[in-house]
Symmetry: C2
Subunit: 325 residues, 2 copies
Amino acid sequence: MIPERQFLNRLRLAKQAKNAKVALGTGDDCAVLRIPAGHETLITTDFSLEGVHFRRDWQSPECIGHRCLARGLSDIAAMGGNPIAAFLSLALPAALPRKWVDRFLSGLLRLSRSHGVELAGGDTAESPGGVLADIMVVGSVKRARALLRSGARVGDFIYVTGELGESAAALHMLAAGKIKKRDVFPNPKIAVGEWLVRNRIANSAIDISDGLSTDLSHICEESSVGAAIDADGVPIHSSARRLSYPTCSDLPIELALHGGEDYELLFTAPKSKPISRIIAGVRVTKIGEILREKKIFLAENGKRILLEPHGWEHFQSRRPSPNRK
Amino acid sequence: MIPERQFLNRLRLAKQAKNAKVALGTGDDCAVLRIPAGHETLITTDFSLEGVHFRRDWQSPECIGHRCLARGLSDIAAMGGNPIAAFLSLALPAALPRKWVDRFLSGLLRLSRSHGVELAGGDTAESPGGVLADIMVVGSVKRARALLRSGARVGDFIYVTGELGESAAALHMLAAGKIKKRDVFPNPKIAVGEWLVRNRIANSAIDISDGLSTDLSHICEESSVGAAIDADGVPIHSSARRLSYPTCSDLPIELALHGGEDYELLFTAPKSKPISRIIAGVRVTKIGEILREKKIFLAENGKRILLEPHGWEHFQSRRPSPNRK
């Protein structure tokens, strides 16, 4: 038996502090949302599957719940939107301890509360194998103002928020058996995305979910441009920086360039627009420039090499490559 | 390797006949939808998991794809809404033939086209076990006009659309080994729901996804009322009616009362409102009345017995009971 009733009770509890934009919760066949006048609706959906996106022996249930929602919130941030409601489809193995579900939901709900997002519905089922979660997040953005991947212009500077490589560093240590567990709680950059929309700063944006090299390639592809990244400019998280071995001194920058799930924002803006080093309390770093030539280069030690996208595809097969190609 | 690229290509193809309400498709981090002014957004999400909601050896891929979307569309119909877009999260086992996926999507897309619904996004992953689909459907309804479960009033007549028991009859035959395969393609009653909203006829509504007895109990619970159903009035599908064995003459009505996944609508309306026998081309049958006493009765052969909800919970454990309790 899956603890469907408990889950639904928790959904109801989560709705007590009701968001005025959510008119109805899980009692009816659909949730009813009110999108502010003059706004468009943003919708994103992301799987979190045991064995593919997470392992129960590597992360706490709270962390897995947090990251499940973070993936969706980060997509809303990438479009410059304001998140309104989340919907969770959750299939659980019959033998899963109820405590695990409680802790998973507690991690998810803590993040949703911190962003004023209501858990407004979902579905539950018994899983034929492993914990299966699918999160859907709905947000809104002023009409025609959403940040797109396709807006980058030749000459734009390229910026990232925060620091990169923390999730990849944890995964590297776990996969190598050097640590047993490691929780990383990335915080989606909602306020930065909203600031960029409000101030009409960015020409394009994406969140770094698959790794900088892969996500930048999406911007370049959708905008029909190329890019040059300055390796020294890439902000590397301290936990990745610590992994510099004498035998593989490239590892920190590899993790920062190709590691996924940092949920920072990557955006481009015209050179003429002044970008503060701190936006909405978050560090912002210039890391490169958009080029006409449709290739992505990495400038390092005075040399320019091609930067191939080597980002996240699946949890199981993800191996940071020791050498860039 | 999952055929993610092929799936996304198909998503893109599906978007060529672009719905004006969907501003962007799968190229960005979120889909952007335009909800008509003065309307609220309806959202529903439903799992279709192999071994829980369907079996690949019992139904064609087209039928499984059709039913995956039908579940979500039917929730929009139950609220009287107009469906706008669907989002499909699909996890596929590595060994699944590509042809299966093509046929699954073809069944899903045929239904979506027939309702003018765009497949506007989704997620893909490799499944750790079995085909895992999660469908999300977004619709709209005029502000404050959505049909709710909580609106039934004492004295309302109770109506159902179409005929009941077809899906349950197929499942009964499959489970008994009397047939090897059976496709049932239920058509969500979108136009009936919209008609009820437009004409302000219904006090409450729900779709029959878990079985009449269970779905009626949801209306009664949310509306704090009871109900009496006339057994002779319940419209039974011919394929259920054919399953009347001398040893179990109750089977047809059992399947109609407790079988799920018919995706017909159950609604209540004041006695004073005339209800046509055909709404939007669909047969509508009066089957009972809402009571003050918070119980559900079945009137049969001049007797009144308690009707307990015995609807669908999970595919695996679903067995039409030979005797009502």
